[in-house]
């Protein structure tokens, strides 16, 4: 099952710019939470801080508290462990190009020391099924490389890869922005299925997508969380004028 994430007074810097300023919010378990805002508003930095991905940039640093259930993710566990429990899917599908479909999905498990073939087979199949890709690839698991799939399939392969290590939270940074409408709706359908089992956080520039898939939506602007509320409230009657100006296109 997914767990909720509690963020308190989160600040982040990439070099000197103060890219996140005092963010506090609760991301509920087993729900999809959408983060919207103009480019450079800090929403991608925010999700990277949730699984310590920002630490891969040597100039980045963060202060504040991020808790996942009982775990303080900055104090109680290693970045590797946190990234296993909080998986991430990026804007551009990034399967390992030389690996087969099977090995792509199994890669995380193998890194964690799994070698039992039957166990790996089971996890690969269930992960591909959860990512709604199994029926399309089951006959080519070891014959085709991940890179031979279409863009939409590659993104679902990356989702399967993230699910294979049994995370509790899935972060998605613009997961459908490079995909056509059919592949996009498959990803959105998938989000509906996945949130029964995982907590989903999705960063998107597509406001209709946020409106369609997420129960809650947060609006970021210039490193601040301006408003966080139920998605239907945000899109019908937001509380802050800046949110309204942004979602109605009166911004900028």
């Amino acid at each position: 099952m997914g767990v909720g994430i509690e963020v308190k007074d989160l600040n982040a810097w990439y070099g000197s710019p103060h890219t996140l300023q005092g963010i506090t919010l609760n991301i509920p378990a087993n729900r999809a939470t959408a983060l919207i805002g103009p480019s450079g508003c800090g929403k991608s930095t925010f999700v990277r801080c949730l699984n310590r991905m920002h630490e891969t940039n040597p100039t980045a640093r963060a202060t504040g508290t991020v808790r996942m259930g009982d775990v303080d993710i900055y104090a109680d566990a290693s970045p590797v462990e946190i990234r296993r429990r909080i998986g991430m899917v990026f804007q551009r599908p990034n399967p390992f190009p030389t690996m087969s479909i099977y090995d792509n999905v199994a890669s995380g498990l193998k890194l964690n020391g799994y070698s039992n073939k039957r166990e790996l087979d089971t996890v690969v199949e269930s992960s591909l099924k959860k990512a709604a890709l199994w029926d399309e690839v089951k006959d080519d698991l070891k014959k085709k490389s991940g890179a031979s799939l279409s863009g939409g399939q590659q993104q679902r392969l990356c989702i399967a890869r993230a699910l294979a290590v049994d995370p509790e939270v899935l972060l998605m940074d613009e997961p459908a922005s490079a995909l056509d409408p059919v592949s996009t709706s498959k990803i959105e359908d998938l989000i509906f299925q996945l949130k029964r089992q995982y907590t989903i956080v999705i960063v998107t520039h597509n406001m209709q997508q946020a409106a369609r898939v997420a129960e809650n939506t947060g609006f970021f602007l210039s490193g601040h969380l301006i408003e966080f509320d139920a998605t239907d409230k945000i899109f019908t009657n937001p509380g802050d004028k800046r949110t309204e100006d942004y979602i109605t296109g009166r911004f900028g």
Binding site: Q208, A211, T236, N237, I247, T248, G249, R250, F251
Partner: protein, 219 residues
Amino acid sequence: MRLNFHQQLDALKAQLMTMAHQVDRSFADSIEAYRTADLDLSQRVIGAEVQINMMEREIDRLAIDLLALEQPTAIDLRFILSIMRINSDLERVGDQSVSIATRVHELRSSRPFDFQVDIPLLASHAREMFTIAMRAFQEGDAELANSVLALDDEVDTMNADAFTSLSKLIADQPELAPQAMNMLIVARNIERVADHATNIAEDVIFWRRGDDIRHGGTH
């Protein structure tokens, strides 16, 4: 900035105001036709209905296009939803005017009688409500829209008084029943116009504030 979209919203608003002027004209004419038993004027009201219906369809079509093509949100979404509801209310005010106008025929064929029911006064109250509601819409003024709601009670009371006195008259002087019934229907038509003005005011409040105050704001 979604300039083109916001210009289209302005155009939609202007079109609804044009329809409101036409509807207001029809209502005023129907009352005047009834007051003076003017058949020509009543025919003009009946003839204008075709144009009002056409305007209703056109405004609905534009609003549906904007919903489908622009996926409006927040205040823009509430604005378009309000436009669609007000559009429907305007068309129905047009229908009430036609109903009043069609009573002029019967009025002319019956002998005059002073019923002690002031139809023009009742109508002027309803028209005032309608005018204020449409001005609130034009100016996006929720406060002004709110002031319409209190006026509805007055029209309801006047209509109830008319009902009581006309019912008594029908009981006491059955030979006057056709004329009294005629007037009862007209009073009822006017009261409905006031109800539509109230609906319009409620829609303006929904557009500006996001509050649904219909039916007292209860579930």
